[in-house]
C-alpha cells in the first residue's frame, strides 16, 4: 500500500529528487524537523552562527564517517576508530616537535600513522580473513597500548601546529569554516570515487558478493586492504582536525567518535551488510547525529535523560525510513 502512495508522490517530484534514495530524503527531512523542534526551545538554534558551528563540528565526524562508510560498504566495520583518531592527532602533534621539517610533515605523518593502523586491519581482514569486527578491536587495543607507552616514555609535544589550527578553525573563505570546506572536498572526492571509478564499483561489488567479484578477476584483497587503509587515514585525519580544533591532542579524543560514526553511516541509509548506500546519506546522518547531540547537550536535562532521548530518537528515525523491506 505504501508503495503505491509513495510512487504517486514521487511521480510529481523533479527528476533529481525522484532518483534520490527515499531514505536520504527522509534523513534530510528529519534534520529540518530536529531544527524546528530545537527552535521551539530556543530561537538561537536557527542562528547562522550556531548552524555554522554545527557544520564545523559535524565535519570532524564527517571525515571519520567517510572512512567508516567505505568500510561498511564492503560489509565490514572498523572498530579501531577511537585510537586511530587519537594516534593521528597525537602523532601529528608529536612530529611538530622535530624542528621545522617536523612542523611541515606533521599532518602527513599523523595521517600516515592512521594508514598504518588501517593497513594492519586490512591485512587481517583481507589476507588473514579475520572478521573485521574482531581484528579492528584488537588493533584498537594495540594502538592504545602504543600511545600509552609513547605518552609515558617520550614526554610528548601535544600542541597542534599552526597549520592544524588553521585547517580546523580558520576561514579561507569568509564565513565558511575551513573544516567544512575540507569535509566538502573529502566528500566530493568520495562521491567521485564511489560513482565514477573502477575502485568504487568494485567496493560495491565486493560488498554485495565478494565471491563473484573475485571470480570476475578483481583483486578483492587489495581493494579491502585499501579501503581499510583509507578508513584509518581518514580517522587519523579527523584526529588531526580535532587536534587543530582543540589546539592539542589527547588520548581519549577518539572515544566519542566510534558509535556515532557507525550510527551516522547507517542513519544515512547505508546497509550495514554492505553493497548499498550513498554518500549523501552519510552527510545527512552525520548532520543528524551532530545536531541531535548538540541540541540534547544544550537543553538543560540530566545526562540520563539525554541518553534516553538520543536512543529513542535514533530508533524512531530508523523506524521511519531505515527498515529492511518486507519479504513478501
Amino acid at each position: 500500500m505504501s508503495e503505491t502512495t509513495l510512487g504517486g508522490i514521487a511521480g510529481r517530484m523533479p527528476k533529481f529528487i525522484r532518483r534520490a534514495d527515499p531514505a536520504v530524503l527522509t534523513a534530510f527531512a528529519c534534520i529540518v524537523l530536529l531544527l524546528f523542534l530545537g527552535s521551539l526551545y530556543s530561537r538561537s538554534f536557527l542562528s547562522p552562527e550556531y548552524l555554522l558551528q554545527q557544520l564545523k563540528v559535524a565535519s570532524f565526524l564527517g571525515v571519520i564517517a567517510t572512512g567508516m562508510m567505505l568500510v561498511i560498504l564492503l560489509g565490514q566495520i572498523d572498530l579501531s576508530v577511537p585510537w586511530s583518531v587519537a594516534a593521528g592527532a597525537m602523532m601529528a602533534c608529536a612530529a611538530a616537535a622535530y624542528g621545522p621539517a617536523g612542523v611541515v610533515l606533521a599532518i602527513p605523518f599523523g595521517i600516515f600513522c592512521g594508514v598504518l593502523i588501517g593497513i594492519v586491519n586490512g591485512i587481517g581482514v583481507a589476507y588473514l580473513r579475520i572478521p573485521s569486527m574482531i581484528i579492528t578491536l584488537a588493533t584498537n587495543a594495540v594502538a592504545q597500548g602504543l600511545m600509552v607507552v609513547y605518552t609515558g616514555g617520550f614526554s610528548p609535544q601535544d600542541s597542534a601546529t599552526g597549520a592544524m589550527r588553521y585547517l580546523a578553525t580558520g576561514f579561507a573563505i569568509p564565513g565558511v569554516p575551513n573544516a567544512v570546506i575540507i569535509w566538502a572536498l573529502i566528500g566530493a572526492a568520495m562521491v567521485f570515487v564511489l560513482t565514477r571509478t573502477g575502485f568504487g564499483r568494485t567496493v560495491y561489488g565486493i560488498g554485495n558478493r565478494e565471491r563473484a567479484a573475485y571470480l570476475s578477476g578483481i583483486d578483492t584483497r587489495r581493494v579491502v586492504m585499501i579501503a581499510f587503509a583509507v578508513s584509518g587515514g581518514l580517522s587519523a585525519f579527523g584526529g588531526v582536525l580535532l587536534a587543530g580544533y582543540a589546539s592539542k591532542a589527547a588520548q581519549s579524543m577518539g572515544d566519542a567518535y566510534l558509535l556515532p560514526s557507525i550510527a551516522a553511516v547507517v542513519l544515512g541509509g547505508t546497509s550495514i551488510l554492505g553493497g548499498r548506500g550513498s554518500y549523501l546519506g552519510t552527510v545527512a546522518g552525520v548532520i543528524l547525529i551532530t545536531l541531535l547531540q548538540s541540541i540534547l547537550s544544550v537543553m538543560q536535562m540530566p545526562e540520563a535523560g539525554r541518553q534516553i532521548i538520543y536512543g529513542v530518537v535514533i530508533v524512531a528515525m530508523l523506524l521511519l525510513y531505515g527498515r529492511a523491506p518486507a519479504s513478501r
Binding site: 565514477r196 571509478t197 573502477g198 575502485f199 564499483r201 568494485t202 560495491y204 561489488g205 554485495n208 558478493r209 565471491r211 563473484a212 567479484a213 573475485y214 571470480l215 570476475s216 578477476g217 578483481i218 583483486d219 553493497g275 548499498r276 513478501r328
Partner: protein
C-alpha cells in the same frame, strides 16, 4: 476424473514485481495420483506460480481452492500444514545445519519439549534411503555437500514431510543420470500412492518419461494444457517460445583444425585427491567438452586453470609457454585472456542487487577506465554491443540484475566476460536451468566465438549438449581423464559408458532414460 473436485485449483492468479508481470490470470488444476509437468521459457512465471502455491509469495489477485475449499497461505509453514511441499529452484537448505537437522526442520521430533536427536536421525536415514541417497551421512553439514547431493537432501526432506502435493521446481537440474533414475522411481511410486506431483524442468526427455499431464506457460499465462505424449517435442517448444522452432545445435565445422598450435594445455595436472595427472589441450577454434558424472573433478579442473586452486602440481601452458596463474585477476590478464563462466550465477557470477550495467562492466572495469576513472561513453558503447550480440532481454540497464529471468541472468554473466574478448573461455555447466530457446542461442554463440578464434572448454551435465556442441569430449572419472572422444565417436552410449568407467559397449539398463 473430470467430474470430481480437483485436489487443488488456482484461478486468475496474478503477481507483479514492480513493472514485471510474473503471472497474469494464471490457471492451474492439480489432480491426485498424477504427475503434472509445467513447461515454459525462462521467466515464464513457473517458479512464481508454485511460490504462490507454497505460501512464499502473496498473489496480487486470484483464488486458490483445495478439496473445493478456498485457501490462502500466509507462510510456507501454512502451506506445509495443508500438505503442500515444495522443492524450490533456489534450494531451501540451511547450510550450517546438518543433513538430519535439515530434513526434519519444519517439524522435528520432540521428547520432553526438546528435539529428539536419535529420532531425528532415524527419520533422516529413512528419508535419505527412500530418496536413494543413503550415501549421504545424516550428520554431514549441508554446506560441505556438492550441489547434486544437496538436491538429493532436498528431495529427502520433502519426502519426510509426507506431502499430499509435492512440487519439484527444477529439482533435478544438477543431478546425474544415476540419481535422476532413482528419483524417478520414487516419484512414480508416490504417484501410485495417490499423491499429486508438479514437475518443472527444462529437460524435455525427463518430462516425456514422467509426466501424465502438461501445462505450458508463456509470459505469465498458461497457454496450453494437454495430455502427455499428445504433442511432439517441436510443437511443445513452439508453444513455449511462441514462434517457429528449428534444429537446436549449430553445425560443427567440417574438420577440427588439426595442426593448430594448442592455446591451452595441461600437463600432468594434479590437485589434492580431486585431480590426477590430467593432460589435455584446447586449440583456438575448438570446443572441447568435459563429460562424466557430476563431481568427477570437472569443476575443479576449470577452477585450477582459472587460478583459484592452491597447491597444484603439473604444468599449465598458454600458447605453448608455461604459466603460473595464481588468481582470476592473473587469469584474465592480456597474455592469457581467460574467462570463466562459473557454476552458480547467483553467488559466483553476479551481484544480484546491482544493476545490469554495473554487472556487465564489472570484469572489464580496468579496460574501460583511464587512470582509474571509468570512461562512461566507452562503457555504454560496449554494453550496447553486448546486449545486442546476446539479445539480453531487460527492462533497462539500470534495474537490478536480480530482476531478470534465469536465462537472461546467465547471458549477463557471459556478456560480462565477452567484454574482455577472452581467448580462452571456460564454461561450467552454463545451461543449467535455462530454457530451450536461450540454450539454442548460447550454443550458437559458443560456436561463433570458437570460429572467431577462441579456445573453449565446456563442462555440461547434459549429454545432448556435449554431443551437439563439442569437437572433442574428455570424459573424467575420479579426477582423471578416462577417455577422449573425437568427432563421430561422441555418442550417448560412449559418453555414458566411459562416464561409468565401463569398458564394454553395453550401456546399463535404465540410464538411457535421460537421453
Amino acid at each position: 476424473m473430470d467430474s470430481a473436485v480437483p485436489l487443488f485449483q488456482m484461478e486468475g492468479i496474478s503477481k507483479r514485481y514492480g513493472g514485471v508481470r510474473a503471472l497474469e490470470k494464471a490457471e492451474l488444476v492439480v489432480t491426485s495420483g498424477s504427475i503434472h509437468a509445467i513447461l515454459g521459457e525462462n521467466g515464464a512465471g513457473k517458479s512464481t506460480l508454485i511460490k504462490v502455491m507454497a505460501g512464499v509469495v502473496a498473489p496480487d489477485e486470484g483464488r486458490m481452492t483445495m478439496d473445493g475449499r478456498e485457501v490462502t497461505f500466509l507462510s510456507p509453514a501454512a502451506a506445509n500444514q495443508a500438505g503442500i511441499v515444495c522443492i524450490f529452484q533456489e534450494l531451501s537448505l540451511v547450510p550450517d545445519l546438518s543433513v538430519a537437522d535439515n530434513i526434519v526442520i519444519s517439524d522435528p521430533p520432540k521428547r520432553f519439549g526438546m528435539i529428539d536427536r536419535k529420532a531425528q536421525r532415524r527419520i533422516a536415514e529413512e528419508a535419505l534411503a527412500r530418496a536413494g541417497a543413503a550415501d549421504i551421512h545424516p550428520l554431514a553439514l549441508v554446506k560441505d555437500l556438492p550441489l547434486s547431493r544437496r538436491q538429493m537432501v532436498e528431495i529427502a526432506k520433502a519426502l519426510a514431510r509426507k506431502p499430499r502435493i509435492l512440487i519439484l521446481d527444477e529439482a533435478t537440474s544438477a543431478l546425474t543420470a544415476a540419481d535422476v533414475s532413482k528419483i524417478f522411481s520414487v516419484l512414480k511410486r508416490l504417484r501410485s500412492e495417490g499423491l499429486a506431483l508438479l514437475y518443472i524442468s527444462h529437460r524435455m526427455n525427463e518430462i516425456a518419461e514422467l509426466a501424465d499431464q502438461c501445462t505450458v506457460f508463456r509470459n505469465g499465462r498458461n497457454v496450453a494444457s494437454y495430455k502427455a505424449g499428445s504433442k511432439s517435442d517441436n510443437e511443445v517448444v513452439e508453444l513455449m517460445i511462441g514462434r517457429e522452432y528449428s534444429h537446436i545445435f549449430p553445425p560443427k565445422p567440417a574438420a577440427v583444425p588439426a595442426a593448430a598450435a594448442p592455446r591451452l594445455e595441461a600437463r600432468k595436472l594434479s590437485w589434492t585427491d580431486r585431480l590426477h595427472n590430467i593432460s589435455l589441450t584446447v586449440r583456438a577454434g575448438e570446443v572441447v567438452g568435459l563429460g562424466g558424472l557430476d563431481g568427477q573433478g570437472q569443476r575443479e579442473l576449470l577452477l585450477a586453470f582459472f587460478g583459484v586452486l592452491r597447491g597444484l602440481s603439473g604444468e599449465v601452458l598458454i600458447d605453448g609457454k608455461p604459466v603460473a596463474i595464481r588468481s582470476p585477476s592473473a587469469a584474465r590478464e592480456d597474455g592469457i585472456g581467460m574467462a570463466l563462466i562459473p557454476e552458480d550465477r547467483k553467488t559466483e557470477g553476479l551481484m544480484l542487487p546491482m544493476t545490469v550495467r554495473e554487472n556487465l562492466s564489472f570484469a572489464a572495469l580496468d579496460r574501460l577506465s583511464k587512470g582509474g576513472i571509468i570512461d562512461r561513453a566507452a562503457e555504454q558503447r560496449l554494453i550496447d554491443d553486448m546486449v545486442g550480440l546476446l539479445a539480453i532481454k531487460t527492462a533497462g540497464l539500470d534495474i537490478p540484475v536480480g530482476a531478470l529471468s534465469g536465462g537472461n541472468q546467465q547471458k549477463v554473466v557471459i556478456a560480462k566476460w565477452l567484454m574482455r574478448q577472452p581467448r580462452i573461455i571456460l564454461l561450467n555447466d552454463p545451461t543449467r536451468g535455462i530454457d530451450v530457446g536461450t540454450k539454442q542461442e548460447l550454443y550458437q554463440l559458443m560456436r561463433k566465438l570458437a570460429d572467431a578464434g577462441a579456445a573453449i572448454l565446456f563442462y555440461s551435465t547434459d549429454y545432448d549438449e556435449l554431443i551437439g556442441c563439442c569437437d572433442r569430449v574428455l570424459v573424467l572419472y575420479d579426477g582423471a581423464v578416462k577417455r577422449e572422444l573425437v568427432g563421430a565417436e561422441i555418442t550417448e552410449r560412449a559418453l555414458i559408458a566411459s562416464a561409468l568407467n565401463i569398458h564394454g559397449e553395453e550401456s546399463p539398463v535404465g540410464l538411457g532414460a535421460r537421453a
